[in-house]
């Protein structure tokens, strides 16, 4: 299995967004900015849609589950790479978290329509390459690659 690592080779453009914990009022802002930026670069609509889903779900996860984190987007000539990193609390059982319908979201988040247990499965589904690494009390790193 591939290990999580950033690959700086042949990056045409980098985008970076910080996402705060529990910031429901701004959740979705980073993914909207990413989408608008990519649209200006005339990226294909279907690719755009996959990136939008991947970054949105990642952003929501950072807001409802993490202590805060970041989303980095590397735009390359043949693909787009998305790196999601947070500073904890880490996922107890990654395999379980990847299961459709499994969620540890709070009741408040669920009442808002989050916590369907579809975030990570959606992210994996739209990615050509998906790597997730998590360590309890350290944090979670996710790499997603979408090829053109």
């Amino acid at each position: 299995m591939k290990k999580y690592s950033r690959s700086d080779e042949n990056v045409a453009m980098k985008l970076h967004y910080d996402v705060l914990r529990d910031d429901f009022s701004r959740a979705g802002e980073a993914s909207s900015k990413i989408k608008n930026m990519l649209r200006q670069l005339a990226i294909d609509a279907n690719i755009l849609r996959r990136i939008a889903i991947a970054t949105y779900e990642a952003e929501i996860n950072l807001v409802i589950h993490s202590y805060g984190g970041s989303i980095d987007v590397y735009i390359k000539s043949d693909c787009i790479e998305i790196y999601v990193e947070d500073s904890g609390p880490g996922i107890e059982n990654v395999e379980l978290a990847m299961t459709k319908g499994f969620s540890t979201a709070t009741n408040i988040a669920r009442e808002m329509g989050f916590g369907a247990g579809m975030g990570l499965p959606n992210m994996e589904k739209v990615s050509d390459e998906f790597i997730i690494e998590s360590e309890r009390d350290k944090g979670t790193n996710i790499k997603m690659v979408v090829n053109y």
């Binding site: 979705g28 909207s32 939008a52 949105y56 929501i60 808002m112 329509g113 989050f114 369907a116």
Partner: protein, 110 residues
């Protein structure tokens, strides 16, 4: 069917946005946002009882034709202002989801 027909012919109230000439090609109703992210298609009229600002991100990321808030559920002015900023068309109707489905089905969305 165009979004404008819901307003002009069926008495839906326009809460936000300006582009009523958007074509509606699909209809979807769900209040779980990740389900909507997974299933939503272009030019969808999305019926949801959620009225917080995250529905705006979903609708704009997936380029939905409009959001329809059913059963006369009130939407805060703050959310309407944000919807205008993000150019998301929100409609409101006193009808239940099933009645809204029927209107859209009879208008040819099948």
């Amino acid at each position: 069917m165009l979004v404008s027909e819901l307003v002009e012919k069926h008495g839906f109230k326009q809460l936000s946005g300006t582009d009523l000439n958007r074509k509606i090609s699909n209809v979807y109703s769900c209040d779980l946002l990740s389900w909507v992210m997974a299933k939503g298609k272009h030019d969808t009229a999305w019926i949801t009882v959620q009225t917080h600002n995250n529905i705006l991100a979903v609708a704009s990321l997936l380029e939905f034709a409009c959001i329809i808030i059913p059963e006369g559920i009130k939407v805060d002015q703050e959310i309407i202002d944000k919807a205008n900023e993000q150019e998301v068309v929100m409609l409101s109707s006193d009808k239940e989801s099933f009645e809204i489905f029927k209107i859209l089905y009879e208008a040819g969305i099948k």
